[in-house]
Point group: C2
């Protein structure tokens, strides 16, 4: 899928691509996934529907690529290596500022139900967002294991993304506040590191 | 709100109430919160819309009371006191069997976006579901503190519901499986108890 998509995307400029992604996310926020149509994206961006289908294949891939594009710095954390798991987690957080995080949170809510009702959306979401994110988390955790910070058989290792998603989702629901960097730093110190057996200074 | 609602509800039999709640949840699963109308509930249950409004005041309270009613054993955990936090958490889990848990999970997804778009739904959801659930968690945790199992200043105490919601939500998203009792028992042993500093045997 990646190679095909890259070939397809090369036909438009990065500026135009960013513009199309921005319009897609605006529409997603306004009407939700089910009511979002390729016609509406075409109309708002003054492009042809044929172009959109040629570039992205369909609504699911367009929406997920737009989401992925909205993450500043993309998903690549390979350059994060602060020497401690706590430092790496904190470096991970600053990829998105509080405003971007509030927007992601609203976008994820807009997608919540649709993800489980549309198998193609779930598949694109997993392939393009969850799996790369998990792979990067695993790299960070593997380095912590190699350094001896985390025991290789710690049962919480497989649940790091679950804990993080929980902190993110529950903040809005329980505390009626958007997740912020300060909140997530506190959550990591209180929950994620202790579960992994890493002492918090 | 509670007293008024009790007075209102007393006008119908518990059997009829259960029937109305069942129809409401069926419709919620079928069409989602936004498209669910009091007209549709009235038609399906052969009742008058005026009765529904008199009993529940509106769609938000009807939906949340139906959700609350669907939890077997209700939300009261006051009778749970096994002598250990791990035992109390496990007793909490068996309130809902795997089938009921999968249904709750689907219903919560159906509500996800609507909760943040409808302030009256969010308020009913918090008052009737989140706050009672948090109060019961706090009782269980307070007993663990009194027994000396958990330190009163453990920073994870305020995040127990966040961790649990994370385990629940992320299971479907990351693992493509419904949350089950076996999974949640494992998650509690791997994440929640270690974060609270409680040794797992």
């Amino acid at each position: 899928m990646t190679e095909v998509a890259t070939a397809r995307r090369s036909r438009i400029t990065p500026e135009r691509e960013a513009e199309l992604y921005g319009a897609t996310l605006d529409l997603l926020r306004e009407v939700g996934y089910e009511a979002l149509t390729m016609d509406a994206v075409a109309a708002r961006t003054k492009s042809s529907k044929a172009t959109l289908y040629r570039q992205w294949g369909g609504k699911a891939e367009l929406v997920v690529r737009a989401l992925r594009h909205s993450k500043p710095g993309g998903l690549a954390l390979t350059d994060i290596d602060t020497g401690s798991l706590r430092g790496d987690f904190q470096a991970l957080l600053v990829r998105e500022d509080d405003c971007a995080m509030e927007q992601s949170s609203a976008l994820m809510r807009a997608l919540g139900m649709a993800i489980h009702a549309n198998p193609d959306l779930l598949q694109a979401f997993r392939e393009l967002l969850i799996e790369p994110e998990m792979a990067e988390f695993h790299k960070v955790l593997q380095r912590a294991i190699d350094r001896g910070e985390v025991s290789a058989d710690n049962p919480a290792i497989g649940y790091v993304l679950h804990m993080m998603i929980g902190g993110f989702v529950a903040r809005t629901l329980i505390d009626e506040q958007p997740p912020t960097q300060a909140y997530l730093r506190d959550y990591i110190d209180a929950v994620v590191l202790p579960a992994l057996g890493v002492p918090v200074p």
